[in-house]
């Protein structure tokens, strides 16, 4: 059997890789304007003539020396997996910097097809590019494209087909680094021929990399057991460094850019610099007086939109499941099955789906901000404030996403290059009050703080932010000593977001939540139903259930806070997912369609809490472990059980501490 033909899409961040990936494969995938949005390897397929081709959408990379996790993923794929062809997407309107990567890809020996995307923007800038000549110089096909309009896709498919079918080996463009250095490179290449383990890599590329002092390349060589090679490279580095009076890295970068200049001198006619619409917007959106107020206004509008517009959809879902439950109760006679279906299964599904409207809308607006280019400005505007707490502007976006759901928020930290900053951002992210916690606040605020619900709920969000700031500072002081890494962020031009791409994004994130919800939350609700119905069976007193037994067992821990066993057990189940807490209360009090607005539930709560213990309870819900899914991503993103357990432990401890402080202070101030 023949191996599948593999093609990778590579290019700088934000050049339209995902757009072209979608055009090629027809598969739906997120398209964003926030540099580095694609953090996962996305795969699709298309067939052309007699070839079935697998396409991989790689994260954006500025060069083949990996600086962030994203870039490492891309580089490893290109170097180690050696796809049959690499489609290098180049932003034509920004060709000068983009070609730097192209040269590196060619140098690494990849079979490059250049997709010259964003020709429309280049034209708007008045740039003229001689495509034919560029192709001749690079010795690679160059296809002009306008990705968003689907222009050039057919030609690109043809070019990919030609490349994988009739590949001409060794037709690499030659880029010289000067006679002296070339001698060194050749001597290293000869030495390398004696290392069979390195056969996989193009020797010239590897030689240049170890001369550049690329840590990963050096590691590869020493793992192959060719330490002589490293010694030789070190000697050459020293020798040339002295001769050239600058370090090797600088020399190579300068040379490559010199080469880009030479190429562009032949193929590019630059346009006159126009005062673009993007510049006009930036002048105000990052203005020294208006920048921050506008940013706050945007955040406020996004929030209002998410939470107000979702209401009718949530009500509809609520009504629908109420109706479904009634039908089940009428049509099923066996009490055990009736209770399982109506209260367990339908109730469980309802409590999962009720959050979809919020999550959909939240990701819709976030995607609008991302695609328009505003999120990069938000990072620019907020950087100094975040820097103060040992983070950076890019940390702000995951924090913001945290208000929607901590799971994608933690995944979004992959754009942060620095490992320490990334870990801090991940560890404090759960303190951002996600939308799943809101129903708990609404329930308790509605029951105990009538007339001040808004302020009380808002105080929860503020408390979360405040604790996140304190924790970030503390983590910096104790575990991650040092300063944030330097900021190197490209500011993409503003672009009109498209409805289609935001809708795709919304759908992807929504279904991701559904998957998480479908398994964990649903299971959680059904387990609660079971534990609270048995061993007595449906209709029996809840005080005799398993749940009550567990609750009484853990309750002593919470006694100083004034919570009863129901509160304790709801917390235990909230560990699975915060969405369950309200539903659990509904089950405890036998209120079948309980939601945060239920009046009967509220009056039941009055017997169990005082305002002080209710407020402490809300704070505890805010701080202690967000949900199993969040713990799962913390593990997968940090790659360490140590940090995952640390996160769980510190949040539990902090939650207890804060709740205790609230209780004590509340009593001291004379509140009941």
């Amino acid at each position: 059997m023949k191996e599948t033909t593999k093609v990778a899409l590579a290019g700088n961040p934000n050049v339209g890789k995902t757009v072209i990936f979608n055009e090629l494969t027809g598969s739906k995938q997120h398209v964003g304007n926030w540099p580095g949005v694609t953090v996962e390897k996305k795969v699709g397929n298309f067939s052309h003539k007699d070839e079935e081709i697998e396409v991989v959408d790689l994260p954006g990379t500025y060069s083949l020396s990996p600086y962030s996790i994203d870039e490492r993923i891309a580089r490893d794929y290109i170097i180690e997996e050696k796809p049959d062809a690499v489609v290098n997407i180049v932003d034509a309107s920004n060709i000068e910097r983009n070609l730097y990567l192209t040269l590196q890809l060619l140098e690494a020996g990849a079979n490059v097809v250049v997709a010259l995307n964003m020709m429309d923007e280049a034209q708007k800038k008045g740039m003229k590019i001689d495509v034919k000549k560029l192709s001749e110089i690079l010795k690679a096909p160059v296809i002009p494209m306008v990705g968003i309009k689907g222009e050039g896709v057919k030609e690109l498919k043809n070019a990919i087909y030609e490349e994988v079918k009739h590949r001409r080996e060794h037709r690499h463009m030659s880029m010289g680094y000067g006679r002296e250095l070339e001698k060194g490179i050749i001597s290293l290449e000869e030495e390398m021929a004696r290392c069979p383990a390195l056969k996989k890599y193009r020797h010239r590329w590897l030689a240049i990399k170890i001369l550049e002092g690329d840590a990963e390349a050096i590691k590869k060589v020493s793992e192959a057991g060719c330490d002589d090679l490293i010694k030789e490279a070190k000697r050459l580095r020293k020798q040339f460094g002295r001769k050239l009076d600058e370090d090797m890295e600088t020399y190579f970068a300068d040379k490559r850019y010199e080469f880009v200049d030479d190429i562009l001198g032949v193929v590019l006619i630059k346009g006159k610099k126009l005062w673009s619409f993007s510049d006009m917007l930036d002048k105000v959106l990052t203005h020294k007086v208006f920048g921050i107020p506008i940013f706050l206004a945007m955040m406020w509008a996004a929030f209002q939109f998410t939470f107000s517009v979702a209401v009718p959809f949530m009500d509809a879902i609520d009504l629908f499941f109420g109706w479904l439950g009634d039908i089940a109760r009428v049509s099923i006679t066996n009490p055990a099955i009736q209770s399982l279906v109506a209260d367990g299964i339908i109730g469980g599904l309802g409590s999962v789906l009720i959050f979809l409207p919020n999550i959909f809308l939240l990701f819709f607006v976030l995607s609008l901000m991302e695609d328009s280019g505003y999120l990069a400005r938000a990072a620019f505007v907020m950087d100094k404030a975040m820097y103060r707490i040992g983070l950076q502007g890019k940390s702000f976006v995951p924090m913001l996403l945290g208000f929607g759901c901590n799971v994608p928020a933690i995944m979004a930290t992959r754009t942060i290059e620095d490992r320490k900053e990334r870990l801090i951002t991940i560890l404090v992210n759960p303190l951002m009050s996600c939308s799943a916690r809101l129903p708990v606040y609404i329930l308790f605020a509605g029951a105990f703080f009538i007339g001040a619900e808004g302020s009380v709920i808002f105080s929860m969000y503020l408390m979360g932010i405040l604790l996140a700031v304190l924790m970030a500072l503390l983590l910096r002081k104790v575990f991650f000593k040092g300063k944030p890494s330097p900021l190197i962020m490209e500011m993409p031009p503003y672009r009109m977001p498209t409805f289609k791409s935001s809708a795709i994004h919304m759908w992807e994130k929504g279904s991701m939540f559904l998957k998480k919800a479908g398994s964990i939350i649903f299971l959680g609700v059904v387990i609660i139903w079971f534990l609270s119905t048995y061993p007595g069976g449906p209709g029996s007193d809840i005080e005799t259930s398993y749940v009550a037994a567990i609750g009484r067992w853990v309750q002593p821990i919470f006694a100083p806070l004034g919570w009863d066993w129901k509160a304790a057990i709801a917390l235990v189940f909230g560990f699975v997912a915060k969405e369950i807490v309200v539903g659990a209360y509904g089950t405890f009090y036998g209120i079948s369609d309980a939601d945060e607005g239920s009046t009967s539930l509220r009056s039941e709560l009055h017997g169990a809490f005082t305002p002080v213990s209710a407020y402490a309870y809300m704070a505890f819900v805010l701080i202690y472990v967000p949900c199993l899914a969040t713990i799962g991503v913390i593990k997968s993103e940090t790659g360490s059980w140590k940090w995952t357990l640390f996160a769980v432990a510190y949040m539990m401890g902090l939650a207890y501490l804060v709740a205790l402080v609230i209780t004590v202070v509340g009593h001291l101030l004379g509140f009941a």
């Binding site: 006009m280 007086v289 208006f290 506008i294 206004a297 209002q304 107000s308 009718p312 009500d315």
Partner: protein, 141 residues
């Protein structure tokens, strides 16, 4: 061409002043609790703050526009966009509430406190401004 810029300046000045006026009134209404003003500005400090921001952006470079300099246009454009974001947001919230009323079968009434009429009206009053954005190439140099 430059005459048009002066016109935009006058337009900005008028609408910007109304934005600030209503923004202030909303903040005062919020601070004073029960106090209400004609044409129902909602007592909402955040919304009021945003109206003041939009108004200030409109007024900030009016002098440039009046003296027929292009630089001021940036501020006009951003104010347009913000005004649209806020206006459309309230319209959507209104639509959502209407839909909600139909779903749960309750009568719906316009609630001036929730829908921020001034923000919606001002958004509509600024709509002609979008014609200028569409022809922005004219200002391109």
């Amino acid at each position: 061409m430059s005459e048009k810029i002066r016109l935009i300046g006058i337009y900005s000045a008028i609408i910007g002043s109304i934005y600030i006026l209503y923004g202030m009134l909303e903040i005062i209404a919020w601070a004073a609790g029960e106090l209400r003003f004609p044409l129902s500005p909602s007592p909402d400090i955040f919304a009021g703050f945003i109206l003041v921001v939009i108004g200030s952006i409109l007024l900030y470079r009016v002098r440039d526009l009046l003296s027929m300099r292009y630089e001021g246009l940036s501020f006009f454009f951003v104010a347009l966009i913000l005004s649209a974001i806020i206006g459309i947001m309230y319209l959507l919230i209104m639509g959502a509430d209407l839909l909600d009323a139909t779903i749960i079968g309750e009568p719906w009434a316009f609630d001036s406190a929730a829908y921020n009429l001034p923000a919606i009206v001002l958004f509509i009053l600024l709509l002609p401004g979008w014609l200028i954005i569409r022809k922005r190439e004219e200002f391109g140099e």
